[in-house]
């Protein structure tokens, strides 16, 4: 089982869009796949039309194994399951801080799934919290979407610094540019500068209104419109990711 976290300190950068589309592609080509919605806002659960069972909550999530197992739900797509988030997840950080080894908690909780899925995607909430630290140690790849702006580069560097300061392996971080608008000079410049830097994937995701429409389709764009420009870009991104030696 390989784990991939869609993560960034900044919000609204396309984490959920990438998690939803990449997990669908993964279910197609290297099934089965699980997507874990770790964001209390539940955006990826929403895209798959799934709500958590009434009994599911953050303390169940922290209890792990059995509780997680029984709350996994099938999406409408073959070989793709989802662990829905719940609004109670907003307390995850506080609850994690009461655990003995909060950084290891997620990894431990998911151990029992390792035979069931070939890939697990985490859709993370923004910010740098105890939960993100737990995600960092549980993930084989930390995939960071970046809108090509100088501010994004700054937060990306903050992440690298955090990894270095905490003795985490920064080689697991992969960044890619998203919501790219070719007509914007700053986008072009930043991509020219960082596009082939180590840890950056070559494939970029263009700004495309089809992606926004996923909220209307309530399904991965790669499933509904596999031939749209954005879908093809996600496919390229997925293939590049799989070709990389980490997966």
């Amino acid at each position: 089982m390989k784990t991939i976290a869609l993560y960034s300190i900044k919000g609204g950068v396309g984490k959920t869009a990438a998690a939803v589309n990449l997990s669908y592609l993964s279910a197609l080509t290297s099934p089965p796949c699980l997507i874990c919605d770790l964001d209390p806002q539940g955006a990826s659960s929403y895209y798959f039309r799934i709500t958590a069972s009434k009994k599911f909550s953050s303390d169940k999530f922290l209890k792990g194994n059995k509780k997680i197992h029984s709350n996994i739900k099938a999406t409408d797509f073959e070989n793709l399951d989802l662990l829905p988030s719940d609004f109670s997840y907003r307390n995850l950080d506080i609850e994690l801080s009461e655990e003995k080894k909060p950084q290891k908690k997620l990894k431990k909780n998911l151990e029992s799934l390792s035979d069931d899925y070939s890939h697990v995607f985490f859709d993370c909430p923004p910010n740098l919290t105890l939960l993100s630290e737990s995600v960092f140690s549980a993930s084989d790849i930390i995939l960071v979407p970046m809108i090509p702006t100088t501010l994004s580069i700054r937060t990306y560097n903050q992440l690298i610094d955090f990894f270095t300061a905490n003795n985490l392996d920064r080689k697991r971080i992969r960044a890619f540019f998203t919501m790219v608008e070719k007509r914007k000079a700053m986008h072009r410049d930043i991509i020219a500068e960082y596009g082939d830097a180590p840890g950056f994937l070559r494939q970029t995701i263009p700004y495309n209104s089809e992606v926004e429409k996923m909220g209307v389709y309530r399904a991965p764009l790669t499933a509904v419109k596999p031939n749209s420009v954005a879908s093809k870009a996600y496919k390229g991104l997925f293939e590049e990711l799989m070709a990389g030696k980490a997966l």
């Binding site: 799934i50 709500t51 197992h69 996994i72 099938a74 409408d76 070989n79 399951d81 309530r218």
Partner: protein
């Protein structure tokens, strides 16, 4: 993916008024997707001896897909595309994968043949919740016999498949459906299969080459022997078609075992039949066995087509290709000959005379057959005891060098004892005969291995001789040499363990087992 939720199959009386799934669901919070209608042919497959069914599995094809399902849950364990010759198949007809692995697990030797075909008219809906998320599927199927489509459906079922995480929601639906139908019945795939088979006049698992007769210890042994012979003859008859069509090698094998059993009864139950008639049939059946022997020998090699090469170093493996090609073409010829014989007037006459003999229930002349009226229980005890003692006596005579002939002969003695015990098994409590048979089987395994190796060595030697007369290819010679060495090692291994395995059989413990088995007070 892990533990899938449970499927429910609801059976509906096909004659009852039309059931409308959409109508029933109106009072639930769920809605249905646009229906997908389909009309397909469904074929069920199994081996001649119902191996899939007895392993709790069903094998069925619809369109180009063939699947193996767990009967209790209807869950598909593996699926593949139907092979081009779709009436019969074996694991080798599929490309390697879960499906072919499962097929060979169910049976490595037997072919899967089409049992029956049905027309299935189905309507499939996805069940949607208020977010239009699919929570499962409902399939409404009407199944009709291909042979009698006009009669209409023979089975009407509704299947509910919840998606993972939605068992509870689908449970609401199940209740609604079951509540609406007064006489609904829950079924599993095995139940459906059995019910469909019943409509075609078949009972899954009705064939077995094992002797399943229940004998009466008080009946005259003549009557019991006839019943046994009729049984073995029926098994032979059941297998004729499969031999002639060359469906798999087990048809001939079962046929030969039954034939050998029949000969063994005739030979061992002395004084039960008029000796003149018995000897005549013994001779004829022996000839019949002879006619089938060559084909079986070749089958045995062809069954080793993968194991033989695999046991050789890679450079020698290729040499066996012409060897197997030769056997394959020889088999074709010999099979054609046997096929012709089985359809001949000569065979028909032999079998009808034999069957006529078996249908005469009148006791033979007591002068000629003095033992015919003895009680079966007594006869069983005496004959088994005699045969057992003979194995012990001859086994003890086997020299330190364990010569080939000694082991060959002892093997035949063991076989005779084995057949007797199997004929009469139903007379004894199974917890007594079981352990005694087990002891015998262990000894037989050792002897069987030895003799099989001897036969193979001889065959390979002859093959090599014949090949060298025609200017043998050195690759073939080397491969066969390698094979012979390996077989020889196995044979010597069997030889060297003979005395130890015989000692186990010739032990006080085994003797006590047999004594207890053969003491009269055991019968009730």
């Amino acid at each position: 993916m892990p533990d899938l939720p449970e499927t429910t199959v609801i059976k509906i009386d096909p004659d009852s008024a039309a059931i409308s799934v959409p109508h029933i669901l109106e009072n639930t919070p769920y809605s249905l997707s646009f229906p997908e209608r389909q009309k397909t042919l469904r074929h069920y497959f199994d081996t001649f001896d119902s191996k899939a069914f007895s392993s709790g599995l069903t094998v069925q094809s619809e369109g180009r897909r063939i699947s193996i399902r767990e009967s209790s849950s209807n869950r598909i364990l593996a699926s593949d595309t139907v092979p081009s010759n779709s009436a019969c198949f074996m694991a080798a007809n599929f490309s390697p994968g879960t499906f072919s692995t499962l097929i060979s697990h169910i049976s490595r030797l037997r072919a899967f043949c089409r049992l029956a075909s049905f027309q299935v008219e189905s309507v499939k809906w996805r069940v949607l919740d208020c977010e239009e998320k699919t929570i499962g599927t409902v399939i409404d199927e009407s199944i009709s016999c291909i042979e009698s489509l006009k009669k209409g459906p023979i089975l009407h079922i509704i299947t509910l498949n919840p998606l993972r995480g939605y068992s509870q929601e689908m449970g609401t639906l199940r209740k609604a459906l079951q509540g609406e139908m007064a006489e609904s019945d829950s079924l599993d795939a095995a139940g459906i299969f059995r019910e469909l088979m019943r409509h075609t006049g078949r009972e899954p698992g009705d064939y077995s080459s094992k002797i399943t007769l229940k004998l009466d210890p008080g009946a005259q042994v003549h009557e019991s022997a006839l019943r046994l012979l009729r049984f073995t003859t029926e098994v032979m008859r059941h297998n004729e078609a499969g031999i002639r069509k060359s469906i798999d090698t087990e048809f001939l094998h079962d046929y030969r075992v039954s034939l050998r059993r029949a000969r063994s009864i005739l030979a061992q139950l002395k004084g039960v039949f008029d000796p003149e008639t018995a000897n005549r049939f013994r001779k004829e059946l022996k000839e019949l066995a002879g006619r089938t022997g060559a084909l079986r020998d070749l089958d045995v090699y062809l069954l080793q087509q993968h194991d033989f090469p695999a046991s050789l170093p890679p450079i020698l493996r290729g040499g066996l290709t012409p060897f197997f090609a030769g056997i394959t073409s020889a088999r074709k010829k010999i099979h054609r000959k046997l096929d012709r014989y089985l359809s001949s007037e000569e065979y028909r006459k032999l079998m009808s005379e034999w069957e006529a003999f078996l249908s005469i229930t009148q006791l033979p002349d007591p002068e000629k057959a003095p033992a015919a009226s003895i009680a079966t229980g007594k006869s069983a005890r005496t004959s088994i005891r005699k045969s057992w003692k003979r194995v012990i006596r001859n086994g003890r005579l086997v020299s330190r060098e364990t010569k080939d002939e000694e082991l060959h002969e002892l093997r035949i003695d063991c076989k005779k004892l084995r057949y007797l015990m199997e004929f009469f098994a139903s007379l004894f409590p199974s917890d007594r005969i079981g352990p005694a048979l087990k002891q015998l089987k262990q000894l037989q395994e050792n002897l069987g291995e030895f003799v099989d190796c001897a036969v193979q060595l001889e065959f390979l030697h002859e093959h090599l001789d014949a090949a060298s007369r025609n200017g043998c290819d050195p690759g073939l010679a080397a491969s066969i040499g390698g094979l012979m060495t390996r077989i020889y090692l196995t044979q010597e291994q069997a030889r060297s363990t003979f005395h130890a395995s015989f000692r186990t059989f010739d032990s006080d413990r085994t003797a006590a087992l047999f004594e207890e088995l053969l003491t009269e007070r055991m019968y009730k």
